[in-house]
Symmetry: C2
Subunit: 363 residues, 2 copies
């Protein structure tokens, strides 16, 4: 198979040739040319220097209106699409921001990334997405691949990263924003909330409601476990210990909630409430309890986390903790852009967006 160039003679019925006036291709004899219209092609056709075309494309206002209009017309007629690979190499600005997320299958992460993407795209930046699957080895690999792309900024989910990841990031010397978890020694910037405080707040809320016999269903990820730890610590102050403690696999689903609620029940301890590390888990638990004829919250209360859309709409509205994933994405995006455009900030920037305990029917 010929790897030469995408010749016009290629026998490919699905494709049409872009409009490329042949007179501008005539001079091209290089064996390495792409065949697509370059800035030089535009310059030649417009009778100006390449740099002038560059200025028009990049909206540098040091070009006369007349020249600008002319160059624009030529660009249009030739169908010129700038090559940002070349532009980025020359300017050291890729106009790329990379986001490393465990999974976008989690609604909260998805909302956050969505907001980040919208914020960036409004500023002319593109989003490079790296999926780490809750795996730190994977995270490191993804990071390496991403660093090769020379992004102008990096968005990180979570704040617990391997030493190696931290090192690479520091060495790369680009703006980094960690998210979701506020802590004291961020790599660079940080937008999130305190999982520790959330855990304490959940404990205090449930205690204030009179619950004393707790079962827990929490994800195995660092953030969930951190919330659990501080909740458990708060309970301990009252001399209370978990009567049941289940840890789920990553990617919490209703099904997992049902399953773990069922086995929590089968363990025989008399619980008055089940605390879950996410609303889907809580929703699953509620369904399981109700299907066994138990009333929520009269017989057993259920607490969630995240304030997913269904938490409020549900037949049994779920008591939960509201986190603003969208704001996290927006803030992070703005931070990154600010940092990219205005250079280094004197201090690491930390924003604690807080959270809200939302009392509803289930607990």
């Amino acid at each position: 198979m010929s790897t030469k160039r995408k010749a016009k003679s290629t026998n490919d019925s699905v494709r049409v040739e872009p409009q490329r006036p042949s007179q501008f291709r005539a001079g091209l004899t290089s064996s390495r040319a792409t065949g697509s219209v370059t800035l030089s092609d535009v310059a030649r056709a417009a009778g100006v220097a390449p740099i002038t075309v560059s200025r028009v494309v990049n909206k540098s206002n040091s070009v006369s209106p007349k020249t600008t209009a002319h160059v624009r017309a030529v660009i249009e007629s030739l169908g010129y699409v700038p090559n940002l690979l070349a532009g980025g190499l020359a300017s050291k600005k890729s106009r790329l921001v990379a986001a490393i997320v465990p999974t976008i299958t989690n609604v909260m992460f998805a909302e956050s990334i969505q907001a980040l993407g919208d914020t960036l795209s409004r500023a002319g930046y593109e989003l490079l997405l790296g999926l780490s699957s809750y795996d730190s080895t994977r995270e490191q690999q993804v990071l390496e691949a991403i660093l090769s792309r020379r992004p102008d900024g990096i968005f990180l989910t979570g704040a617990t990263h391997s030493v190696y990841t931290r090192q690479s990031l520091l060495a790369a010397n680009i703006p980094v924003v960690e998210t979701w978890d506020v802590h004291k020694s961020p790599i660079d910037m940080l937008v999130g909330f305190s999982h520790k405080k959330v855990g304490t707040a959940i404990a205090e809320y449930l205690l204030s409601r009179g619950y004393r016999k707790f079962g827990a269903i929490f994800g195995s990820d660092t953030r969930s476990q951190e919330r659990k730890s501080s909740m458990v610590r708060r309970f301990a102050k009252e001399g209370i210990h978990l009567l049941g403690d289940h840890t789920t696999r990553p990617g919490s689903t209703l099904a997992m909630g049902r399953e773990h609620a069922a086995s929590l029940l089968q363990e025989g301890r008399k619980l008055d409430s089940i605390v879950c590390s996410s609303d889907p888990l809580a929703q699953g638990a509620i369904i399981e309890l109700q299907s066994r004829g138990l009333r929520v919250p009269a017989d057993i209360a259920v607490m969630g986390f995240g304030d997913y859309e269904f938490a409020s709409t549900n037949a049994t509205p779920i008591s939960t903790v509201r986190i603003d994933g969208k704001s996290i994405g927006e803030f992070a995006g703005r931070f990154l852009l600010q940092r990219i455009n205005e250079g280094a900030m004197p201090e690491p920037h930390i924003v604690d967006l807080g959270f809200l305990v939302v009392p509803r029917l289930s607990a």
Copy 2:
């Protein structure tokens, strides 16, 4: 503010300098150098030609084991991170695949993109994410930004694109895979299922169950409307017409389902079933009906679409249509990779992944 170079003297407490043995920086006097380790730095330190380092990095096996090991060691010690902006420019391969999605907030799209990303990353490709927000002007802008990045392939959600989008894509002459909707004239490749057939299948399923008085709650997006049209056509064959027909804004939620179910009821027509364009909508409808003391399906049946995780786990399991978003992402990824690595295929490739009507309690 100095824009010169990221000098070692920068007063930035959060950052540490990467390890860069100073002897390799000595020769660098260019005012445009980045300051980061380049392939040439590695070559110099290793006492080989740049091309040899390139071969080692790209695992070309025409380098002796001894040289390979040595170069690897030097790369490691200098902390060299290849610059794929430069690599891509020289080789015309960006190792980037772009995905244009209306939103990743939709679980089905998220799953699809997740699978695509996993498939690509295993092959050493990165994912560029473009969010079009169900807006064709936005889609065009996003596409243009993306094309500047010279991706090796493009993943598109949906098959209804503006003429302009289609033109740009054809002109760019890169592998494209459209998804979610099977139709006859794809731009290039296509992986999806027939929304038309889904609509017909839903109609036939409901008719077979004896339902005759239908209300509809469907999203305004092309795909939902396509399903509705064919469903309505099938109903019409039996002389049946929709007794209520609601269209929701994009991004269907439980809350919208509740709301529209409520107003469908208030319109006074006696319905025996409500058909929804998504499971969240159906779930919302079920909650609303039950909260009004109506039994599902005894009083009113509800049909969903998508087979979301909660559809089966729900207290009232939802009758729905199963679509495999994950497979769509995987297939599309494999298609793209195959096409990128093996060149043009003779025919536009179309894969119909089909769907499955899943009868459960709600209808």
